[in-house]
């Protein structure tokens, strides 16, 4: 589904990604771990199409199509979803209205009419229930005054609404207490199918107890320096990242 080939990306002439190769197939869960500053969030942003980053070499291919010329919204319409580490506050625009806009813009891009209002409401209600989101929450301004946990839960709610092909969860576990973590992880697991894929970016192994990965990759200094099965996450948890850094120097 996703194929990343020798991806190099820079911001303001500083190279952050230095040759990433990654292949994600439908039905798989991949975890990307690594120390601070290794390029995890940059990788997520580059896949989602953030213009601040310049791809200097290599490419990102989704279902055989190079995404190079696609704006973030085009990628979203093709099924890429990024759950943000720091979701942005939009005062005056309710969660419901925001979702209506997002869904109908995606439909418009696919040549479909707006979703009928009653169908939209039903869908919103259903997904909110799945994530144990109170109905009052949906009429609040998007992310404004939300707690860290509420913001993350709202990200997964948006993911549930948009039903992406490829979901990238960027540090979704940070700022979550154990109950919120469980709710969020359950949500992600319910959305998983043989037709979609998830990339989980995290610092810690904790989230991976709930969202069990098929593959774990360690990112260091802009490169994937080690890949393995889910047991690699445990090893990292036990040993820290220092041994990876050591190894990669060799």
């Amino acid at each position: 589904m996703l194929k990343i080939n020798d991806l190099h990306a820079s911001v303001e002439d500083k190279e952050i990604l230095k040759g990433i190769n990654l292949e994600v197939n439908a039905g798989e869960v991949h975890a990307i771990m690594g120390p601070n500053g290794s390029g995890k969030s940059t990788l997520a942003s580059v896949i989602a199409g953030k213009e601040e980053f310049e791809v200097t070499k290599g490419n990102v291919v989704l279902d055989g199509e190079d995404l190079e010329d696609d704006a973030p919204e085009d990628r979203a319409h093709k099924g890429v979803f990024l759950s943000f580490q720091y979701p942005v506050e939009i005062p005056g625009v309710s969660v419901t209205n925001f979702m209506k806009t997002a869904i109908n813009e995606s439909r418009k891009a696919k040549g479909l009419d707006d979703m009928p209002a009653n169908q939209m409401l039903k869908l919103i209600r259903e997904k909110a229930e799945m994530l144990e989101i109170d109905r009052k929450f949906l009429s609040r301004s998007l992310n404004e005054g939300f707690s860290g946990g509420e913001k993350k839960r709202n990200e997964i709610f948006q993911m549930a609404m948009l039903e992406p092909k490829l979901a990238i969860l960027d540090e979704t576990d940070s700022g979550l207490d154990i109950d919120a973590l469980r709710i969020v992880a359950n949500g992600v697991n319910k959305l998983k199918s043989k037709d979609n894929a998830v990339i989980v970016i995290t610092h810690y192994q904790r989230l991976l107890e709930y969202i069990v990965p098929d593959f774990v990759h360690v990112l260091h200094n802009g490169k994937i320096v080690k890949s393995g099965g889910k047991e690699l996450a445990l090893e990292l948890e036990a040993k820290g990242y220092d041994w990876i850094k050591q190894e990669s120097l060799v």
Binding site: S45, A48, G49, K50, E51, E52, A71, P72, E73, R75, A76, H77, V80, F81, L82, F84, Y86, P87, V88, I90, P91, G92, V93, N97, F98, K100, T101, A102, I103, N104, E105, S106, A109, D114, Q158, L162
Partner: protein
């Protein structure tokens, strides 16, 4: 003949039509003398540094319109807040339109300045209030005073509240090649009374229009006034709005100014706080494009202790538009415990757009809280990415962010139908259909 000369000679013609024995005649004559000496303000004056009236003065404006203009309500319905019932004081090319208006004398007076200035029953009120808060020295205000004849007259007696909001609407039909209008409004809200006003100036053609408007507002003790200025005129219409507000103790006056259109707009908004424990609020949303120019000049004069003022102006400037915000706050020495807040935030969405923003604080008391902040920025790129990554295209994402930026100014609009209308104007101005009513 330049505009000043034309106005001076027109004044003589004008005087032949009015009652020279009326005390207002002397007020007008005095005012004309002042204008003759001062003339139009030039860019050399600090207060007019960023707004030039030069090109307007070259236009051969008609000072007195023909009297035979009529409009069908269905043709101009869209300029009214037509989904609610309102009192209406409507003028067509400066002439009162009884056809489009709905005035009243039922417990409150919502009617015409021309009546108030000529009928003996209003003489006492005119003596007490007319030209008492408006400046006797500012040249454009005195020009308006010299020609003051028509406009809205509103008198709300003690403890009264009109059943519905009042709309003051001025239409220009384009029957004149170019027309200068000088409406004069007088609004008196007595003790513990309330009033809501929506004011709009609307040209219906591409002929040049210049409106030099003066509004005097008196808010007595514990009075409550909401005043909304909707400025969304065509690209050949210019407006110089001079609003003077005299407030007494425990009164609340809120003025919202929505500036979305016009060629040149100058808002001179002046608050004088003559009493204690009152609140003056000024809010504005300005969204401009093309070569539009809007200049907000506010003044709050804190004369007595224990009062508050709040100013919050948001501006979004695109294409070649230019904006000015100059917020002056004066706190007199005895005006202790004053709280004065001022905020002006701007977004430039074009390299060619400019904004000049300046706080001007003159504080003579020592126990006060005054804050001011001006910002000029671009749209937050991270926020843009967030919205786009949800499938919202760039243009719509921009519009959503600009709407969010202006939103807290809209929250205090207390007429829901007006708020809905302003939201629609904003969406239209931003050129988007967001799939829901903002």
């Amino acid at each position: 003949m330049d505009l000043k000369d034309k106005l001076v000679s027109s004044f003589m013609a004008f005087e032949n039509n009015v009652d020279v024995d009326h005390p207002v005649h002397d007020v007008r004559t005095e005012a004309m003398k002042n204008f003759e000496i001062k003339g139009f303000p030039s860019k050399k004056e600090e207060a007019w540094k960023y707004t030039s009236l030069n090109s307007l003065q070259k236009i051969d404006f008609s000072i007195f319109p023909k009297q035979d203009n009529a409009l069908d309500y269905k043709d101009v319905k869209k300029y009214f807040i037509h989904d609610i019932d309102t009192y209406k004081i409507v003028f067509i090319d400066g002439i009162f339109s009884s056809n489009l208006s709905e005035t009243t004398h039922d417990g409150v007076d919502i009617c015409l300045m021309s009546s108030a200035l000529t009928k003996p029953m209003y003489k006492q009120i005119i003596d007490v209030y007319f030209n008492k808060v408006a400046s006797k020295y500012e040249s454009l205000t005195t020009l308006n005073t010299a020609f003051s004849r028509e406009g809205a007259y509103i008198y709300i007696p003690k403890n009264k509240m009109p059943k519905k909001p009042v709309e003051i609407v001025h239409f220009a039909t384009g029957n004149e090649a170019s027309l200068m209008l000088q409406p004069r409004n007088l609004i008196i809200v007595e003790e513990n009374a309330e009033l809501q006003v929506i004011e709009r100036h609307q040209s219906l053609t591409s002929n040049e229009v210049l409106t030099n408007c003066v509004t005097e507002i008196f808010a007595a003790k514990s009075a409550n006034i909401d005043y909304y200025k909707v400025q969304n005129d065509v690209a050949t219409a210019s407006l110089i709005d001079n609003t003077y507000i005299n407030q007494k103790s425990k009164s609340f006056v809120n003025v919202h100014t929505f500036s979305f259109g016009g060629k040149l707009t100058r808002n001179n908004l002046n608050f004088y706080q003559n009493g204690e424990y009152m609140d003056s609020t000024m809010k504005g949303v300005t969204i401009l494009g093309e070569k539009q120019h809007v200049d907000h000049h506010t003044l709050v004069h804190h004369i007595e202790p224990n009062c508050e003022s709040h100013q919050d102006y948001k501006g979004i400037y695109g294409e070649n538009s230019t904006g000015v915000f100059n917020g002056k706050i004066i706190v007199d020495k005895i005006a202790q415990k004053t709280n004065a807040f001022q905020q002006n935030n701007n977004i430039l969405i074009s390299d060619k757009a400019t904004i000049n923003t300046k706080p001007q604080l003159e504080i003579f008391a020592d126990d006060v809280k005054c804050s001011h902040g001006c910002t000029i920025g671009q749209l937050d790129e991270d926020a843009m990415f967030y919205l786009q990554s949800r499938g919202i295209p760039e243009k719509e994402a921009r519009a959503l962010l600009m709407y969010a930026f202006a939103n807290n100014v809209l929250e205090s609009v207390r007429i829901p139908e007006l708020k809905a209308r302003i939201n629609k104007l904003i969406a239209k101005k931003l050129g988007v259909n967001l799939g829901f009513d903002l």
